[in-house]
């Protein structure tokens, strides 16, 4: 019986509950921050910078602590995190291609380069009254 209690104490020390609760609260706060970016209607560079920073911080904490990656061996960490890096190439290729496609749509198809965005309140929606 006393051995079991000792075991339990050793396990408690080995797997402290604190770090999970701290990360949990941190994720809550970071989510609240990113929601605030939208709520207070930050626009332009500051909006994208804040959104990306909060997103990467949240992703980092989930991967490192919740998914236990920070406690894994380097061979496994590099097998997990290495391959997705090539996605940056895909993003780069698609972004440069997208600029070109947009240009052809504007130059050759006569589509508007800067269309006015539509506010939801300006759209008459059937059945909206039900909600």
């Amino acid at each position: 019986m006393s051995e079991q209690v000792l075991d339990r104490e050793a396990l408690e020390a080995q797997h402290p509950i604190g770090i999970y609760l701290k990360v949990w609260i941190l994720l809550f706060v970071l989510s609240a921050f990113s929601y605030m970016v939208d709520y207070f209607d930050f626009q332009g560079m500051i909006r994208w910078t804040l959104i990306i920073i909060f997103m990467l911080l949240k992703a980092g904490f989930i991967i490192a602590v919740f998914m236990h990656v920070m406690w894994e061996r380097m061979a496994l960490i590099s097998a997990i995190l290495g391959p997705p890096v090539v996605l940056l190439v895909l993003i780069g290729l698609m972004a440069s291609e997208a600029d070109y496609v947009f240009g052809t749509r504007v130059d050759h198809l006569g589509q508007p380069a800067a269309a006015e965005r539509i506010h939801v309140s300006d759209v008459h929606v059937e059945g909206a009254a039900e909600h």
Partner: protein
């Protein structure tokens, strides 16, 4: 192996030798490694969706809708932007927290606590899917379809239904997965193991939360 030796045994024999060598590259439970392989491949699927969405956003000449207005809800007479999505985000994070606790209790072999926290996690997941169903039916009632959208670019509809639908499918499968594992734990199916299954299921669940972080940032906030 020298060329001469390869000639003698043949190339396929060398493949068999290499793969049947009883070497272990990753010193973790095989099931956990298989889950990681799956999650890395799933990363590429979701990345393709999100990169495709990026390209749509960059090439579309129709106006893109304001997501914070489209996903606003009227509560107590005030229209609050993006509120349902914010609640869904908090629910998913909370479910990740309860799942992390279930994994923690798996080290203690505390079957009751493991199952308890896995059921709580599954309940949060189910409520997330319920809210997503509400959001889908609201947008469908307002006339949003994968090919048309009253608030601007029709591509908004196709991106929305595809990405959130695929993510919602992952959450739904996760709920079934967690309930199945929790029931089997209670029945004693994993008594002779170190309950690695809890950590494996946990990896899947945290991944679903991870994907939502990116969807939230790029689709709802952008």
């Amino acid at each position: 192996m020298s060329n001469q030796a390869v000639d003698k045994v043949g190339h396929w024999q060398t493949v068999c030798d290499d793969w049947g060598d009883d070497k272990q590259a990753f010193k973790v439970h095989w099931g956990k490694f298989m889950m990681w392989i799956f999650l890395v491949s799933d990363t590429f699927i979701f990345s393709c969706f999100l990169v495709g969405y990026m390209k749509v956003r960059m090439t579309v000449t129709d106006p893109w809708p304001f997501p914070s207005e489209v996903f606003a809800l009227t509560l107590f007479g005030n229209s609050i932007p993006l509120i349902l999505i914010a609640i869904m985000t908090f629910i998913l994070i909370t479910s990740s927290g309860t799942m992390a606790l279930a994994v923690r209790f798996s080290h203690f072999r505390d079957k009751k606590r493991i199952a308890q926290f896995m059921f709580i996690t599954a309940a949060f997941g189910a409520s997330f899917v319920g809210m997503q169903a509400f959001e889908w039916s609201k947008l469908i009632a307002e006339g949003v379809r994968p090919w048309v959208n009253p608030f601007g670019a029709p591509q908004f509809g196709s991106v929305f239904f595809m990405i959130t639908g695929f993510h919602g499918l992952h959450v739904s499968i996760g709920v079934i997965y967690l309930i199945t594992v929790a029931m089997k734990i209670l029945k004693g199916h994993y008594d002779k193991t170190d309950y690695e299954i809890v950590e494996i299921a946990g990896l899947y669940w945290h991944f679903v939360d991870l994907v939502w972080v990116f969807i939230f940032a790029f689709f709802y906030l952008w």
